[in-house]
């Protein structure tokens, strides 16, 4: 869980990241540590690819599906992943994450990202405590106000919790471009550690104002819906992977889409969701190797928009 961050680990992470751009791809794939970005408010390194739980981990009491989710988590941690993100809105997802984490022996590398999602500010702490019990963690690393619901009251609570050491980071979320004007205002006003927004090769509205503002305000950025809930990967599966994908170490469209996102310098990580072990491995593999520069990112956009 909460990992103590030291200057040494930061230097190691930054050095590894810099060295990767110079290494041959094969060597990187075999030997390199996972690529990370620092959380600006603390410097703690976070791997570029996290794990979302929307829909995929909401499997109720199905024992087969719960075990399958635990295997996804096992593969995620084994590949070097850390951040898992959920919400009280996601049905049984929190409970299933807690089941998987316990089954895997409570790996310490987990970075637990949760949300508070309730209109009553007074009931926020009880909801967060309920979420914590479902996860089975001593405390959450990150707590975000989901979709800005009652954000003013919840942020007061969250900053107080952070002050008391019951929480490490505070953030806000939105998705699919909703309430960006309000979102910006909260970003300008509050000392947030994290924001979470939707960004992908076709939904790039946040490039104009939100991402530059996050950079200016030194906020970490989590990107949700990197595949538009599978719509993008489904659509692109009909098309051949272009030759230039190999230049950035991608062997699948999913990796191209993920590298496009984490290739943006203001982005800290993205949280694709999946039910499949092979997909989680493929996703986390996008945390390794060459990252696309702005020219290749522009090429990815142009190519995908044509398809």
């Amino acid at each position: 869980m909460p990992r103590v961050f030291t200057r040494r680990s930061l230097l190691r992470s930054v050095a590894a990241t810099g060295a990767l751009t110079l290494w041959p791809r094969e060597l990187v794939a075999q030997r390199a540590p996972i690529l990370t970005r620092p959380i600006p408010s603390s410097g703690e390194a976070i791997p570029l690819i996290g794990l979302g739980t929307w829909i995929t981990f909401n499997v109720g009491n199905d024992p087969v599906a719960r075990d399958s989710c635990a295997e996804v988590m096992r593969a995620f941690f084994a590949a070097g992943g850390r951040m898992i993100d959920s919400s009280p809105m996601y049905g049984s997802s929190q409970d299933v994450v807690g089941y998987g984490w316990k089954k895997l022996g409570q790996p310490e590398r987990l970075f637990a990202a949760e949300k508070v999602w309730i209109s009553s500010a007074a009931r926020g702490p009880a909801q967060m405590e309920h979420s914590r019990r479902l996860w089975g963690v001593p405390k959450f690393d990150l707590m975000q106000v989901h979709n800005l619901l009652s954000w003013e009251a919840h942020l007061k609570t969250l900053f107080a919790m952070k002050q008391e050491g019951r929480l490490r980071y505070v953030g806000i979320t939105t998705s699919e471009g909703r309430r960006h004007r309000d979102f910006e205002q909260v970003m300008r006003k509050e000392p947030l550690d994290f924001i979470q927004v939707t960004y992908n090769v076709l939904d790039r509205e946040v490039e104009d104002r939100i991402l530059p503002l996050a950079r200016d305000r030194r906020m970490a950025v989590i990107i949700n819906r990197p595949f538009r809930e599978g719509e993008l990967t489904k659509r692109l599966a009909r098309h051949r992977l272009p030759d230039w994908a190999a230049e950035i170490g991608c062997t699948s469209w999913a990796q191209v889409l993920l590298k496009f996102i984490v290739g943006h310098p203001a982005v800290t990580c993205t949280i694709p969701a999946t039910t499949r072990v092979d997909h989680v491995k493929e996703n986390v593999a996008a945390s390794y190797g060459q990252m696309p520069d702005s020219a290749i990112r522009a090429r990815i956009v142009a190519h995908v928009e044509k398809l």
Partner: protein, 229 residues
């Protein structure tokens, strides 16, 4: 919820189709062999519709109410709510419908059927037969789902709702207050299946339209039959 117009139906779908249908498999296994008793009650309901009997309206109302209560308690509250927190609210609606059926059919004894079947009666009977026999077969036979995932009358909401619409279509006069919740469920259920891209999504909306058409037809027929002052 602000900017509600920016939400698509898919934004409200919390689970995958695989999880949804697997839920029926686990549910069917958990309540076995209650399915046999419920199917027997369904058959009794059809028999009561086909031949006049004392207390038939009351018995049919009790059987339907039992189905709505069973689906509320055992399916919605104990299973569906594990993947969809809105199921708690749905369960309240199902209990309310059961109470309305008891009130109308048992206490007021107002669920009556014509001695001779007419178009509405035949339509109602058709909907009931569909709910009891055809609907459970669609998934396994046409859509490749396992038999264990079959949705049965009195157990699962969709066939229970369709059977209720059949009874209401066959009733002597329209019961608008009894139609409200089943029709609402048809919209919710149809939207859920449509969002999951299930090919059988039109069944629920179609059943609602048929039942409403039967109610309107009976309303018009009753108005026309009233003597002029």
């Amino acid at each position: 919820m602000s900017e509600w117009w920016t939400y698509a139906l898919s934004d409200f779908l919390l689970f995958s189709p695989r999880t949804y249908y697997r839920l029926f498999e686990l549910y069917n296994a958990a309540v076995w062999p209650a399915q046999i008793a419920m199917l027997a009650l369904g058959a009794i309901m059809v028999a009561l519709l086909l031949r006049p009997a004392v207390w038939r309206g009351r018995l049919i109302a009790v059987i339907l109410a039992a189905g709505w209560l069973w689906a509320a308690w055992f399916f919605l509250l104990q299973h569906y709510t594990t993947i969809n927190w809105v199921a708690d609210y749905f369960a309240h609606g199902f209990v309310l419908q059961a109470l309305l059926l008891i009130w109308t059919g048992v206490i007021l004894d107002d669920l009556r059927f014509r001695a001779r079947s007419d178009v509405a009666g035949a339509t109602g009977l058709g909907l009931m037969a569909f709910a009891l026999v055809v609907h459970p077969l669609i998934g396994p036979l046409l859509l490749g789902r396992p038999w264990a995932q079959a949705e049965l009358f009195g157990m699962a909401p969709d066939p229970t709702v369709i059977a209720t619409l059949g009874v209401l279509a066959a009733a002597e006069r329209p019961h608008w207050h009894l139609l409200l919740l089943p029709v609402t469920w048809c919209l919710i259920g149809g939207a859920t299946l449509w969002t999951m891209e299930s090919p059988d999504w039109p069944i629920l909306p179609a059943a609602a339209v048929i039942a409403l058409a039967a109610a309107v037809w009976k309303s018009l027929a009753r108005s026309a039959a009233k003597p002029l002052p």
